[in-house]
Amino acid sequence: MGKNSRSATETVERFLDSTLESVDDAEELALLEAEKAGVPEDDLHKIAMAVRESMVNAVVHGNRYNAHKKVHLSVSKGPEEFVVRIADQGDGFDYEHLPDPLAQENLLRHSGRGIFLIKAFMDDFQVRRLDPGTEVTLVKYLVSK
């Protein structure tokens, strides 16, 4: 666990295995920290789900369950925002050209809704290419912007 006491922001970090158990662990940790940060009840479920979807992307699509690759989880609570960063060590994906899950031709597809739901549930969502890997940043504002 890493804590940053230089500012009012407090950060908890984990390096997680590329397993579905890690998805549950990350969701549980984020939920716990969000509760501590005073995130409203309605938003707790949204954060939990956004973290779950992001972790699934990292474990399944990014690291492809590779036992040698880790997922870096970072949960930060500041006075104005709650931020979760999830980074994998995979090959990355083309964020700009993801199929629209709401398009008529995609409505009945089995998959492809994860990032759409993350964006719907969080106030801000960013994707950054790493070398190697991908980092996503999920933000929920604690005060009105």
Binding site: H45, V56, H110, R113
Partner: protein, 114 residues
């Protein structure tokens, strides 16, 4: 708790009571297996009671959609019963709410198969 599925017959309608979490892994695969099993046995009227589903992720939504298309392609019907607010919200956000035939009353849902 992951997911718990139990099936009962109401006339010629197979009602599947689903409880717990339908998420990637055990939850979504259990639902997929149950629906495939019923379709394999020729059951064509399937009512999924989701009243006790506490959580569903995009994988779970995918299983609902796949189940719907599998049953429909076999000439059957799959309807949903007792959506929680969270599940209803998810289906609305993903524009799937109008794809499924959704009911709040089991007797009415069963009659809708006739």
């Amino acid at each position: 708790m992951s997911v718990k599925l139990s099936t009962r017959q109401v006339g010629d309608v197979s009602v599947v009571d689903v409880a717990g979490r339908i998420t990637l892994g055990e939850g979504s695969s259990a639902l997929r297996d149950a629906l495939r099993d019923m379709v394999g046995k020729g059951q064509k009227k399937i009512l999924l009671n989701l009243g006790d589903v506490s959580y569903i992720d995009s994988s779970g939504i995918g299983e609902l959609v796949s189940g719907f298309t599998t049953v429909t392609n076999q000439g059957g019907q799959l309807r949903l019963l007792n959506l929680t607010k969270r599940v209803k919200d998810l289906l609305q956000i993903t524009k799937l709410y109008t794809v499924f035939d959704v009911h709040d009353d089991e007797a009415a849902a069963v009659r809708a198969f006739a």
